[in-house]
Structures are given as structure tokens and as C-alpha cells.
Symmetry: C2
């Protein structure tokens, strides 16, 4: 884990992360991502653990692996929420590494480590090395508040980053919606930083390995941000359980139906009755529904 | 680790984090913090590990424990940089937990987990539970870009948080220095959010368990932020190796010499020749120098 590990042969340049993600979206037939935010209280009854972090970590690992297998071939990407694993201390972090390692064995599946790190200098480099090496993720989510110092270590060598630009939670407005003296909002100022910084990592697809998180509950903002960041792939959380609908996510896409990935978590991974032993099937059906819903709306060919 | 663990008896309300930190500063004689950012390349020769993350994690743990013991009784606080440990995967995270557990055994030593998390909802609660439970830290550093949703889970039950307001890195200016339509900078807008939110967790000392990170290299900004956040303790990185001097940190303090903690990392923890087997003594002397330098400047009685 001390060195970045990739599945690509070391003799050739790894594929640009944006190009790889878009190819996988095309292959799967819809720009969707399943968010893995596992908590023990919501697991299927057959997986409910005994007390303690070791047992909890093992249970959420088993559940996560089950979800990944259930959505394989349906979703081109999974996003794993680090907090759910870190909650359980070192045992949880070890489980997180194993879950991402498993996801990597699934053909055509892009992995996003949702850990929202934001630091500078050697600390930012450490986090990036961790994402690439220890966790072997394809993408990281990162905070841009400290500027490009926090972003650049995460972009390149086949890895990509989604910078937090506009989030779906109500209290995010208190800062992100503020109007600057030159007319932009704070979120738009972050978007401009991301657009400029991302220009150096644009792949053959015309999209950058530096993307943006844009919440699905901010419809009007999304359209403005799409214009400001023409080369960014938008990672769009907030669909489904958080209240965003199809109409809310459409402005995140370009007119050609490309440029965004809609992520749904609770509405897919908990789409079962707790007592249902065949919970995998319910999860797969929910992922298929998501694929149909988003795929038909944005017109990506299945 | 699934439940918050504190050293206080569960029958009484834990001490407000700000009150506890200030009492420890008074006892130590100066408002200083030693930053633990251990990297294998800079360890004393006697601790240099073999290859691999397991060995590296063990080596930085041994070094960190040695530094903590060396500065015990000199510095009232240590700040542990999570990235340096996460760099080494699950083994590194396990080492981080042990280092913080060790720091907790040192009388009068406040612990700050510098992990700069910034998430919302249950993810923010998971991170807070991790800081309190798995890592048993007294304080966390947190990002405020997503608003108060990211801050509130970290404040209370004896735990405190330092929100990132103004950072010491050059690229932070691109966002933090921007001027809003109403005349404030973005950093000042964040400061106002922190000041308002922190009002509900002010202790007997008059300071809040919600503090602020304000870099030591932004002298003019620090004075303005001190005025906007009268009840916040400032955690002030950037002293020493990052270029900040005594004159730069003074505006972070109130006129009575209270309200800030100056943190130095590299200038203290690497204050030895690599070949020096008595490296602990050099680290202790560097911490004593820091105490003298800051203590005499701000006039806190030793």
C-alpha cells in the first residue's frame, strides 16, 4: 500500500479516469452510481451483527460485498461512504479496504471513495496515496475549501477526483449560496477553480479527471454550474431518498446526455424488508429501476 | 468503539472542551500545541522501518509515542495528523488509534485529531463518533464548506471542534480571500457561521467548544477574524517551518493573552539529527523553546 497499485500494466500510461468512467457508463447503459452507506441498524436480519466494532465491521463488509455483487452489470459505478466504516475504528477501515478491493474485481465497475478529504501539502499527498494505494479506489471525493493544493494530488495516474462544489444539504446554502462582489456565488467561484484546474487533465472524451459534486436538490444552480464547468463530470448525490427527482438531475447533464453520474444510496441498498433472505434480488431490482429511470430520462442508449 | 468513551465519570456532565483546554494551557504555562505529522523518511535512524505498511505504521507509532512522552509536561496539547497514518492503510489507522490512546494517558495533555472531515447527516455523525470513540480524541478539525451540518455533531459531551476558517497555504486565498457583495471575505463569512453556531457551546471560560483554524501566515486576516469570533479558540498552524513568526500569531490572541493555541510540527518533532539516538531530548528542548517563545510573547504566566 505504500505505492500506488493499479490494475493497468505498469508499462503503459493508465487510462484517464474520466474516459474510463464514461466508457463504463456507456457499457452499462445509464449514468448511475450506487452509494454504499451501510449502517448496522438497517442490515438484513440475516446479517445483523453481535455487539462490538469487529462484528459490526464484518457485517457491513458482508452487506457491501453483497450489494456490489447484486448491482454488478447494472450500475457502472459504486460510491463507498468512508464514514460508515471509520465509525467502527481500525476494524472498519480494514473492512473498507476489502470492500473496495472486491469492487475492483467486478468487470466494468468504477469505484468512488467518498471520503471528502481536504488538506494541503504532504497531508493531501498522503490522502491521495491512501485512496490509490491502501484503498485502490478509482476516484476520491475532495473538499476544495483549501484551494487547488487539496485537489491536484488526487488527479492523474488513472485516478480522478470529484471536488465538492454544491451540496444537497440545507445548511450548505449558508456559505455556498452567498453572492460575491462580482456576482458569482461561492459555489460558482469554486466551480471556476475546478474548471481551470481540471483543464490539464482532460481525456479523449473531452471530460476531465477532475469532476465536481453537485447535489440533485439544487436544480437552478445545477444549470449554471453545468455552463461554468463544461469539462467536468458531475457526481450527483441526493437522488431518491434525499428528495431529488429526475427533473432535478437533468440540468446536471449536457444536452447530449453525458457529463453526469446520478448516485442513489438508501433507495437502492435498503430496498428490501429486513426479514427478506433474498434481499440481494430486491437490491438488484432497485438498481435496475434506477437504471431505467435515469437512462430513459437522459437518453443514454442501453 | 461503537459508543463514545470518555475518561470522565458517566454520572456527571463532561467538562466543556474549551474550559478543559484553557485550564491545561494555564497549567502548562503557554498556549502551544505540538503537531505530530510523522513520515518514515524523517524518523530517527534507530526507528527507520523495513519496507511495507505494517512496519511503517509501527515505526511512526513508536516515534509518535516517543514525541508525546518527550513533550509531556511542556506542551498542553498535541495535534495528530490523520493523513500520515491513513497513508499506511488499515495498519496505519490502528496505529493512529493507539497513539491517541497513549496521549490520553498523559496528565494534562489535550488531544486534537487533525482529520479535517466535512460531511453531512449520518456521515458527519459517524465521523464524530469515530473521533470520540475509536480515536478517543478531545478535539477534531472539521471543514465548514457544507455548513453547520458538518460542525454540530462534533461539539458537546466533552468534545470540541476547530472549523477550518483561514488556512496558511497559498492556494487557499483563491477562495477564502474572495470578497462578498456585502464586503466580507469568504473566510469572514465562515467565521460568522462558526461564531453563531458556537454560541450554544460556550463554557465557564467564556470560550466555545467550537473553535476555528486560522493560519499563522495571515496576520491581517487574523486580527479581523479575532474580532468576528470573540468566543472562539483559534488553532493556529503554520508557525515555524511554514513561515509564521511570533508577530504573525499575536493577532490570533485576545488582548489578555488567551484564545489561541499555536501549533508547530516539523520545527519541534524533527529537531534532531537523524543519527542522534537521544532524539527525544532534542524534541523536548525544541518544545521548551516553543513554550518560551510563545509564552513570553503572549504573556501567559508559566
Amino acid at each position: 500500500m505504500s505505492e500506488p497499485v493499479t490494475s493497468e500494466p505498469m508499462t503503459s500510461e493508465p487510462l484517464n479516469a474520466a474516459d474510463r468512467l464514461l466508457a463504463r457508463i456507456d457499457a452499462a447503459g445509464a449514468p448511475i452510481c450506487v452509494g454504499l452507506d451501510p449502517v448496522v441498524e438497517k442490515l438484513p436480519a440475516v446479517l445483523r451483527p453481535a455487539a462490538g466494532d469487529e462484528a459490526a465491521a464484518l457485517a457491513i463488509e458482508q452487506f457491501s460485498v453483497g450489494v456490489i455483487d447484486a448491482v454488478a452489470g447494472v450500475a457502472p459505478a459504486v460510491k463507498v461512504q468512508a464514514a460508515c466504516f471509520e465509525r467502527h475504528g481500525p476494524a472498519g477501515v480494514a473492512a473498507l479496504a476489502r470492500v473496495l478491493a472486491h469492487a475492483r474485481t467486478v468487470d466494468g465497475l468504477e469505484t468512488i471513495l467518498d471520503f471528502k478529504r481536504g488538506d494541503i501539502g504532504i497531508s493531501a499527498e498522503h490522502y491521495a496515496a491512501s485512496a490509490r494505494g491502501a484503498f485502490r479506489a478509482d476516484w476520491s471525493t475532495v473538499s476544495a475549501y483549501l484551494g487547488t493544493d487539496s485537489l491536484t494530488p488526487f488527479v492523474g495516474h488513472g485516478h480522478g477526483a470529484f471536488a465538492l462544489v454544491r451540496t444537497s444539504n440545507p445548511s450548505g446554502d449558508a456559505l455556498q449560496s452567498l453572492r460575491l462582489a462580482n456576482g458569482r456565488t461561492v459555489a460558482e467561484a469554486v466551480a471556476d477553480i475546478v474548471a481551470v484546474q481540471g483543464a490539464s487533465s482532460v481525456g479523449a472524451s473531452g471530460f476531465s479527471a477532475l469532476g465536481a459534486v453537485v447535489g440533485a436538490t439544487k436544480r437552478a444552480d445545477a444549470a449554471a454550474l453545468r455552463t461554468r464547468m463544461p469539462q467536468q463530470i458531475f457526481l450527483v448525490p441526493g437522488f431518491g431518498a434525499q428528495g431529488g427527482g429526475v427533473d432535478d438531475v437533468l440540468p446536471c447533464f449536457r444536452a447530449d446526455g453525458r457529463g453526469a453520474v446520478v448516485t442513489a444510496s438508501r433507495s437502492v441498498i435498503y430496498a428490501f424488508d429486513a426479514a427478506d433472505r433474498a434481499w440481494h434480488e430486491a437490491v438488484r431490482r432497485a438498481a435496475e429501476d434506477l437504471r431505467t429511470q435515469i437512462g430513459s430520462a437522459v437518453g443514454v442508449r442501453a
